[in-house]
Symmetry: C2
């Protein structure tokens, strides 16, 4: 079985570093632009301004070796398995982001509120 991921595009954002970003989109996410690779643009048909979608991303700065973390990076909270958290540090650092489309053209989509940093890889877009 071929489970190798296809990169369908990437995120362009004013958030440049992981330390700049809120922990979730609804905690201070911003408008960001998704650039879709040419070969996947036919899959954008049907997306419209105002539509609620879910982005799946590959969080390229995450550490894949963590099995336990302090929730929300707060060291006063005891460590817990990553599967009971939303930590980006996990075996498969796939981000899940509910957002709304604010603009769309043939090759790009603006969405809000997104907390992913500039250069984050895009894996999928789904109807919410």
């Amino acid at each position: 079985m071929n489970t190798s991921l296809k990169i369908i595009g990437y995120v362009q954002s004013d958030f440049k570093k992981r330390s700049d970003t809120p922990r979730q989109g609804d905690e201070g996410g911003i408008v960001a632009t998704l650039h879709i690779e040419d070969e996947f643009r036919d899959a954008m048909d049907g997306l419209k301004v105002g539509m609620e979608i879910v982005l799946l991303t590959w969080l390229h700065e995450a550490d894949r070796n963590y099995l336990k973390v302090h929730p929300r990076g707060n060291e006063s909270i005891p460590m817990r398995g990553v599967f009971s958290t939303r930590s980006p540090d996990r075996p498969n650092p796939i981000g899940m982001h509910p957002v709304t489309i604010t603009y769309i053209d043939r090759e790009s989509i603006k969405v809000t509120p997104l907390e992913a940093i500039d250069g984050t890889l895009l894996l999928d877009i789904k109807n919410a």
Copy 2:
């Protein structure tokens, strides 16, 4: 960047074929068992009965070559880009399943309502 997926476990379900299953978990999903691979079990710490979680899976029977589909497999609905649908047939066939934990032990988790078929690969578990 290493984007190769780690398989953290797999789904055991009474749904054996894709044609048996509802289109979404809330349309007739059932109780299914998640078997977690030994090396990832420490990441289960903190999961509890009653907790709402989101599973990310690899839909191993999906066709990755589709960019457009008839929504819900209904040929009377015009074809649309897969990114505006929830079709399993898409460039990266990653399933997203909101479920509730009904049982947990050291190596397995029962969840409901799940529509994924027997043998579906498990990629991630997140706090909902």
